[in-house]
């Protein structure tokens, strides 16, 4: 479903990852690990198509990614239902009930997103993944500010997604209790030598 070959990535003009390859089959989950600053977010942003790699190829990601990062893309002055319905329409789907069910948001459906707690906002942000209908989930620290109950809800939603033939690439430090491979990206850290001629920032 996703193939990444010999990727070199930069953040702010400084290469952070080099020579990274990975592959994901339908139904497969892959957990990314690595210390802060190892380049997990940069890798996920590149796969989501938000920043181009310096070199290497990413195949099978275009128009198939549902991306979730630290910001959930929620509008404080729209209700939970309105927020979800907006993203559903943007991604060309219409049914938001399964998403409300999966993250136990029915009780909050008419609340303004601005009045939710941090964990509730996160649940709404993750529910957005379900309404996109996209097969490849690219998640950056999805469990931040979730309590154990909500983490279980998320793990269940993830398991259902994988069982339906979806795939997921997740940067996280906690154990989600799902069957997934783990990839430590520390060995792919770019050395100072990769810098030469690798940056386009100087000319912009």
């Amino acid at each position: 479903m996703l193939r990444v070959d010999d990727l070199t990535l930069a953040r702010g003009g400084v290469p952070v990852l080099t020579g990274l390859s990975l592959a994901l089959a339908p139904g497969q989950g892959l957990i990314l690990r690595g210390p802060n600053g190892a380049g997990k977010t940069t890798l996920l942003r590149s796969i989501a198509g938000l920043q181009p790699p310096l070199s290497g190829r990413i195949e099978g990601a275009e128009d198939r990614v549902a991306y979730a990062a630290h910001a959930d893309g929620l509008k404080a002055m729209l209700s939970v239902t309105e927020n979800l319905a907006f993203w559903a329409r943007i991604f060309g789907t219409s049914d938001i009930t399964p998403a409300l069910d999966a993250f136990d948001l029915h009780g909050l459906a008419d609340r303004l997103a601005g009045t939710l707690s941090a964990g509730q906002k996160r649940r709404l942000g993750l529910a957005r993944l379900l309404v996109t209908g996209r097969p490849l989930w690219v998640l950056d620290e999805p469990t931040v500010s979730l309590d154990t109950g909500a983490v279980a809800l998320f793990a269940a939603a993830l398991r259902a997604h994988l069982a339906q033939g979806g795939a997921a690439l997740i940067a996280t430090h906690i154990d989600l209790g799902i069957e997934a491979q783990v990839l430590d990206i520390t060995p792919f850290r770019a050395s100072a030598a990769t810098r030469v001629g690798a940056s386009d920032e100087a000319f912009l």
Binding site: A48, G49, L50, Q51, P52, D63, V65, A66, Y67, A69, H70, A71, D72, G73, L74, K75, A76, M77, L78, E82, F86, W87, R89, I90, F91, G92, R128, L204
Partner: protein
């Protein structure tokens, strides 16, 4: 795209959305002008088209820094970039929403404020026509400026400095249509120029906006 338009209009109308800010600013500027130049009906009549155009332009500028900055802060822009919507289309829709909530009310309010400035009778029609033709350009160029400064903390002032020079052609020909109309002169030439500028900007600017936004979000 319709979903995005409806969402932007809904947000503008809800608390803190900023709908009416530009209109109130336009009103205040126009009311202050007669105070500052004195009660000379002839002089006011002479400067009315220019003042109304300048007021509308500055009122448009006022809400530009919210156009993309809010969506950037809450991550919506990143998510829109991964959505099946072409970014050019999304930015055009955002510019349209900005025009509907800022430009259109200015167009509708201008004739009322023309009375305060003793605008000559034949000028009302041409003032409305020139503003209706010109203000969409202000929103679309403004969207480009907003895309250019997205991610810069307190980029509002920089945005104004970047965008104002680009407003010059629209201001010249727009105000010229209103001025000639008020004086009962031929308006065809500036009117065609204004329409031409608007068409070109609406057709080409979204591509530039999308290109700089993609670069800015990297």
């Amino acid at each position: 795209m319709r979903a995005l338009l409806i969402r932007d209009l809904t947000l503008a109308l809800r608390a803190g959305g900023g709908f009416g800010l530009g209109l109130a600013f336009f009103l205040i500027v126009t009311v202050l002008v007669p105070f500052s130049v004195g009660p000379q009906a002839a002089l006011l009549q002479l400067i009315a088209p220019g003042v109304l155009w300048l007021g509308a332009l500055l009122a448009c500028l006022l809400s530009l820094d919210r156009l993309l900055a809010l969506d950037f802060e809450d991550g919506t822009l990143d998510l829109l970039l991964t959505a099946p919507l072409p970014l050019e289309g999304a930015l055009s829709v955002k510019a349209l929403a900005h025009w509907l909530t800022t430009g259109l009310p200015l167009v509708l309010a201008a004739p009322v404020l023309g009375v305060l400035l003793n605008l000559a009778t034949p000028g009302y029609l041409w003032l409305v026509v020139s503003l209706a033709l010109g203000t969409p350009t202000l929103s679309v160029i403004g969207c480009f400026g907003a895309a250019l400064t997205v991610g810069i903390k307190r980029g509002g002032l920089l945005l104004s400095l970047l965008v104002l020079p680009l407003y010059v052609p629209t201001l010249i020909f727009g105000a010229e249509v209103a001025r000639r109309g008020a004086g009962g002169q031929e308006v065809t030439t500036p009117l065609l120029m204004l329409a031409g500028i608007t068409c070109a900007v609406i057709a080409l600017m979204p591509f530039a906006s999308a290109a700089v936004l993609r670069m800015g979000l990297r």
